[in-house]
Amino acid sequence: MLPLPGEDKQVSPYLAFYVIVTVQVGVAILSFESNLVKDAGQDMWISILMAAAATHVLIWMTYQILNKGENDVTVIHRQLFGKWIGGLLSFLFIMYLFMIFVLTLRTYIEVIQLWMFPQIQNWYVALIIAAIVYLYVIGGFRIVAGLCVISFFLTIPLMLLKVFPLMEGLITYLFPIFDYPITALAKAAKTMALNYSGFEILFFCYPFFKQAPQSHKWAQLGSAASTFIYLAAALVSIMYFTKEHLAEVFWPTLTLWKIVDLPFMERLEYLGVALWLFVILPNLCLYLWAATRGLKQLFAIRQKKSLVFFLFLGVLFCAFLREPAYTERLLRFINEAGLYVMYIYIPFLYVYQLIYHKLRGQR
């Protein structure tokens, strides 16, 4: 097991805010409304709030687990389940993070192909982005956290673009409230919960915060900020589109950028898609950083090597995932896995650790 990271590698606890916001707001925010509207219609904001509440509880649990374990998840796994089972669980976790990395990358490439360069090859874009990810992850967690901060501030102007559709939206589209049954809302909340995934990163970056328990409140605030961003996006979409229209639009946010009309610029989705690189880059970097860090903890593989290996694998995956149907299937699988990780595995780990410590305390 590796020693805890030195102070020069650690970052201030407030950075948990930026890490959580950027990791939760990823490529999903471009398209999530059209998935929600099918189940919850104009009441989708209630579903978002429901999912947000659940996420806050999960983050709380995550911190309870980590505060007790005082290290990252691989150490906790080994402590609770022993070397083999614990190691296997950690390995699965790492693979899960890597698969999210691949899917995020693939989805962004798809956005570029759909909205900017229809002819561009998968591997070409994947290779370029992989090179950038390498530049960041090689700098360590401090640099990746810095990217999160800059990316947060760079994307604020993109959020402000929502003002244009808002001015043309109709507030009446929000009514009637509570039109949908609670089961439909819950179903939409389940879909929405996936967009909040990403905070699992905390399981790996926890020891990299100075006075790590203090980062809890910042992580919660970060999650609240993501909720605010999702809520704003959802409300604007509901007010601008009709329900039926929204269900058909696959990328509502990008479509809304189209209507922005500045005196010197039109069709802002081109700029938006390009700038969106700064939104998904922290995601990619964080997932890959966590995966390589986990591998280092498990097998003592140098992060520099595993990083190159993972990037190579990622580019390969993206190059061969050309059929949208395969991507779709993989996405569904990972979504399912994500739900299990978040809503079954984290509570399980929490309870198990609680019992484990109680029993050991008695002994």
Binding site: I112, I132, I150
Partner: protein, 501 residues
């Protein structure tokens, strides 16, 4: 040889060692050795070109001539000569170094175990003049010169405190350049001072000609186009930086000082910002910042829009854009690169030529070539405007070295835009950002106060708040004394006054 030395005592130079040194020196035609008369036991040696003739004549030779016959040791001479800086040494390396820095050597020919060295250096310094690269309309108009003594004087008279300390080091095994690390004890973080001294000590190079040599050699990331210490010719700026808790480096023979640790935002800070009212200074700073962004991005955006994304241009603008480009045989990327290179050519030619010829070049280049290029249909009017504006904007940076970096990074952006449009520009920005995040200045983050976020330091980064709001020194520097001053409590009554009271 070794045994002989041992017998005589290792401290005193053997006759032969001194003789060897003197013989080596006298191979230069400006080295003089003489005696007053044949019987005199003392010989005098010095470099004519290094010694101040006036000091030599009035203080040394006159005194010697009067009383020479009475003396038998160099100590007696030392007491008689009215000069402050004299040493008696027997160390051969010491003698050599001092001879080379303008000392007069007096020794007994029979017994050279003790040599007297009288300091009489002939300091040839330029007059203190008006700063040229950092000229300000308001404020002090003194700038550093090539003499390190004068430069320290210029700073010290602005900081009349014994806490202002200087530490002298010698670097360069051929040039033996004197370098002074200056700081204010009690404000500066000792860690920063140690870093600077350590790094200067580690320099192994034969010649240190200018402060810019040191700047490159002690940089945290030596291959970065971004300078990692501020290079200034203004003593007032150095004094102000020192009082904030920075460390400054003065180099003999260089009319500029280095201060650090620094941040990227500081390169967009003109010292004049502090001489004007704060709103004005803030506006100017923001204009400068905008100018830099514009300078880097404008031509790449033009290329990206005309190559891939002409949809983003509104209809009316598009018409004139295409009208100006009609008939141009090159793709936008090539058109832009040709023009950018032309501007660089003009700048480089202008920089190499004497001022008056340089102006002619400016006119020839700017007007004749520009107009001719458009009329010949090689470039479009609009691109010409954009490129010229971008070049202009890159010169708004108050610190000269950063403007070079800004112009250099424009080219990768251009190529990125030519290959992948807006997405290419975003990729270049991401790479640039990764680079900036990694740079450190003397071990302190370069992008502060943006990352790590230091809200308090924002008061003097992109904006400049009034002086009464500038209570703390930059946290980024980790000063030992974080407060610049204690604000006086304001009288409460002021708030309660009504209009007519």
């Amino acid at each position: 040889m070794k045994k002989e030395r041992f017998k005589k005592g290792w401290r005193s130079p053997s006759k032969s060692e001194l003789a060897a040194l003197l013989e080596k020196c006298s191979e230069s035609s400006d080295f003089v050795t003489f005696k007053f008369h044949e019987q005199s036991p003392f010989a005098i040696s010095y470099y004519q070109t290094l010694v101040d003739k006036k000091v030599l004549q009035t203080s040394v030779l006159d005194t010697l001539k009067e009383k020479e016959k009475e003396w038998s040791t160099v100590e007696e001479i030392k007491e008689a000569v009215p000069i402050e800086n004299m040493t008696i040494t027997s160390q051969i390396s010491d003698i050599r170094d001092k001879l080379m820095s303008g000392h007069i050597l007096i020794y007994k020919e029979e017994d050279p175990s003790e040599c007297l060295l009288i300091s009489a250096a002939n300091v040839q310094a330029r007059q203190i003049s008006v700063p040229e690269t950092e000229y300000t309309v308001v404020g002090p108009k003194e700038s550093f010169v090539e003499s390190i003594e004068t430069n320290v004087t210029l700073v010290r008279k602005r900081l009349p405190t014994p806490d202002f300390k200087t530490k002298e080091l010698t670097v360069g095994n051929v040039t033996k350049t004197r370098v002074m690390v200056v700081y204010i004890d009690g404000i500066v973080s000792q860690e920063n001072v140690n870093t600077v001294i350590q790094r200067i000590d580690d320099i192994t190079y034969d010649k240190i000609v200018d402060a810019s040599f040191i700047n490159q050699m002690i940089a945290d990331n030596p291959s970065s186009p971004f300078p990692q210490m501020v290079d200034t010719e203004r003593p007032d700026r150095v004094a102000s930086d020192l009082s904030e808790g920075k460390v400054a480096i003065l180099v003999d023979g260089s009319p500029s000082a280095l201060t650090g640790p620094t941040t990227l935002t500081e390169f967009f800070t003109a010292f004049e910002d502090y001489f004007t009212i704060w709103e004005m200074a803030t506006v100017f700073r923001l204009i400068r910042l905008f100018a830099i962004v514009f300078s880097v991005l404008s031509t790449p955006l033009y290329v990206a829009v005309l190559t891939y994304h002409y949809e983003v241009v509104p209809q009316d603008v598009l018409t004139s854009l295409f009208a100006s480009r009609a008939g141009i045989p090159f793709p936008p990327l090539m058109e832009a690169i040709i023009l950018e290179l032309t501007i660089e050519l003009l700048r480089e030619a202008g920089a190499r030529l004497p001022i008056k010829v340089g102006q002619t070049i400016g006119i020839v280049g700017g007007i004749v070539i520009g107009t001719a290029a458009v009329q010949a249909g090689v470039t479009s009017n609009i691109l010409l405007i954009i490129v010229a504006l971008a070049a202009l904007a890159s010169f708004t940076t108050p610190v000269y070295q950063i403007s070079n970096a800004v112009r250099l990074i424009r080219f990768p952006f251009l190529i990125g835009a030519g290959l992948l449009g807006f997405f290419g520009i975003a990729i270049c920005s991401a790479i640039l950002l990764a680079h900036l995040l990694k740079i450190k200045s003397l071990g302190r983050p370069y992008l502060a106060p943006v990352y790590p976020v230091r809200l308090k330091d924002l008061k003097d980064a992109f904006i400049r708040l009034p002086f009464d709001k500038q209570i703390t020194r930059p946290m980024e520097l980790r000063p030992e004394q974080p407060f610049k001053f204690r604000p006086k409590p304001k009288p409460n009554t002021k708030n309660d006054l009504d209009i007519d009271e």
